[in-house]
């Protein structure tokens, strides 16, 4: 194919009429896409709050151990059942002090340190399981929406997984995979992979359904046909044209997914299948503290609030991101 020279524009403007007839130019100067995203994002107060809190809590659980270098597993029986420092405000007699600002548990383990370490695990489990579920859900959704032949089977597969009971599944997984995983990743790493795997593998179905529905609708849009007509391969159509357009339902699933993953992990702790017992997670701290919640309400409230705030901020962040990532909304 030879390159044909395109002649320069022949139209020279007659100023008076051209203003009347030419297309209006957008008033705003062009800006970088990410600047735009950021500007839109910044306008969403909830998202800013959510993002800031999430950043804070992520940094806190990552760098917290340096700032507060107490070992969360360290027992100190003599100093058990300390109250958080603020109880001194109304009860001068309370066992509390700066040594353990959030108090200690019934074996004298420092609650602040446990919260930090527990947060690490919970956040990691939450994020990883959510990402895994998202990846699977999106993949299944996109594939079954896009390839008509696979649709039926993938959707029936989704039904299948939907009806699998999670608890026996986890027990099976533990039996089958714990030994090799433990050998390769250590007892905690292995369990981490297992839990993330099981939660991720059993919570992608909703995402898949929603994404599929959206893809089915998008597929009928003309720009997909256009992409096909300019020779875009299916893989690329999915990546470049379909996926960016289903980002908002994916965002919503992601928010709910993170919350569900953190909560499922805690439910597993509650049912006694999960990390080694001396390995704190927010869910486990919460469920361990429930029997003593009358005397030591802080032990349920602290992890409870941590979970809620994290989930909440992820939700707001998701709302904001969805608005910011959609150029149509961003334009307004």
């Amino acid at each position: 194919m030879t390159e044909q020279p395109l002649p320069a524009s022949p139209l020279e403007a007659d100023l008076e009429f051209i203003t009347a007839l030419q297309d209006k130019e957008p008033q705003r100067p062009p800006r970088s896409q990410w600047r735009d995203v950021w500007d839109q994002f910044r306008q969403h107060k909830g998202a800013m709050f959510g993002g800031a809190f999430l950043l804070f809590i992520t940094l806190a659980v990552i760098f917290g151990p340096w700032a507060w270098d107490v070992d969360p597993k360290k027992l100190d029986i003599r100093n058990k059942d300390w109250r958080p420092i603020y109880t001194l405000l109304w009860d001068g007699e309370a066992r509390a002090g700066w040594l353990h600002p959030f108090g200690t548990d019934n074996l004298g383990r420092d609650i602040l340190a446990q919260l930090i370490f527990g947060g690490r695990t919970s956040m990691a489990v939450g994020w990883m399981a959510m990402l895994l579920a998202l990846v699977i859900g999106t993949a299944v959704g996109v594939i079954s929406g896009y390839f008509k032949k696979l649709d039926f089977w993938l959707m029936r597969f989704t039904d299948l997984v939907l009806s699998l009971p999670i608890l026996p599944l986890l027990l099976v997984a533990v039996t089958l995979f714990r030994q090799p995983l433990r050998a390769n990743f250590g007892p905690e790493g292995g369990m981490f992979i297992l839990i993330v795997g099981v939660i991720g593998l059993t919570s992608w179905m909703q995402t898949a359904r929603i994404v599929r529905g959206d893809i089915l609708a998008l597929k009928e849009r003309e720009f997909i046909l256009a992409a096909r007509s300019i020779g875009t391969r299916p893989g690329k159509i999915i990546r470049r044209h379909l996926l960016p357009n289903v980002i908002s339902p994916i965002m919503v699933s992601a928010t709910l997914g993170l919350a569900t993953a953190i909560i499922t992990e805690s439910a597993l702790s509650f049912l006694g299948v999960g990390f080694p017992s001396d390995y704190p997670t927010w869910g486990k701290l919460l469920s361990d503290a429930v029997p003593r919640m009358q005397e030591f309400p802080e032990r349920v409230l602290l992890p409870g609030i941590s979970i809620s705030l994290t989930v909440l901020s992820v939700n707001y962040l998701g709302d904001g991101l969805r608005d910011a990532l959609d150029p149509r909304i961003r334009g307004r």
């Binding site: 909830g46 039926f152 029936r156 039904d159 299948l160 939907l162 009806s163 699998l164 009971p165 608890l167 026996p168 599944l169 027990l171 099976v172 533990v174 039996t175 089958l176 709910l256 919350a259 953190i262 909560i263 805690s266 439910a267 509650f270 869910g283 919460l286 469920s287 429930v290 919640m293 009358q294 349920v300 409870g304 979970i307 809620s308 994290t310 989930v311 909440l312 939700n315």
Partner: protein, 345 residues
Amino acid sequence: MLTFTIRRLLLSIPTLLFISLVIFLLLQLAPGDPMAQVPLTVPPEVKQKMREALGLGQPLHIQYWKWLVQFFWIEPQVFIDYLTNRSALLGWLPDTSFSEGQLRVISWQTRSPVMDIVMQRMPQTLWVVGLSYVVGILIAIPIGIYSAYRHYSLFDQAGTFVTMVGFSIPPFFTGPLLIVIFSVYLGWLPSIYDTTHVVRDWASFKVQFMQMIMPVMVLALQTTAQISRYMRGAMLDNLNQDYVRTARAKGLKESVVVMVHVLRNSMIPVVTVIALGMPAIFGGAIITENVFKVNGIGQLLLTALFANDIPMVMTLTFIFAILIVLFNLIADVLYGILDPRIRYD
């Protein structure tokens, strides 16, 4: 629509058979043993004998086939017998006795037919879990509507906040919390659900009401959170549609525009979401039932799981699978019925 439904129903049969096989194999693979609750003082050989008496030693395919026959052939016969012998509806038919002498699906734990126990558990499960679903929906829908109508208002923000908090707090925390407040400190509500309570008159209804408040509320919190999010989203989508402007141009009242025109359209996706949530009602709510001792299907599944009562777990999960497949279908059909634009086949 009818052929669509029939076609889907037919296709779901092999799907379900496959699901049952997967569940069966999964449970076989699962570690654990029905003898776990027998005290350690009972010697191993006795336990071995007990296992054999349960039919544990048989080859897998025989066990699976036996279950299939029992579930798909004998249990329906039992049901027919029940209908013709005892039910009010069909009791006038000559009594049948198809199932006499046939071995039904027997629970290892209780040595009684699984289906009988399931039927026994249904009322309290439906009362508590089902009612909580209804309550959750009844709360969620107005919240969703108003949040969308007053998008980004204070109410919307507060609604989002409360529902998300509700969604993020696990029931094993909210349950005991409510018990401590309302049962222990205030002494207003019972902490333990009485499954044998029968509502006969006003007073006994009050008792029933009191004992249901807490579990229903704990469960409804989760439903509310989810449904109100969907409702809000659907309303937002529809409020900007052209037909809303048309309705306004007719001079309709704002309430009619929103509550008739917009709501009807927004309910279409929400109703299907609600339908998809239905199987969970029959599946019970494991943790909440446990916390309040409601002893519905969820608690049944949990105890069966911990006791490794495979026939029970197998049957329950499979019933659950049937419901999921069925309600998936119902959701699709509902969608088609509610939305005149959708026509299957």
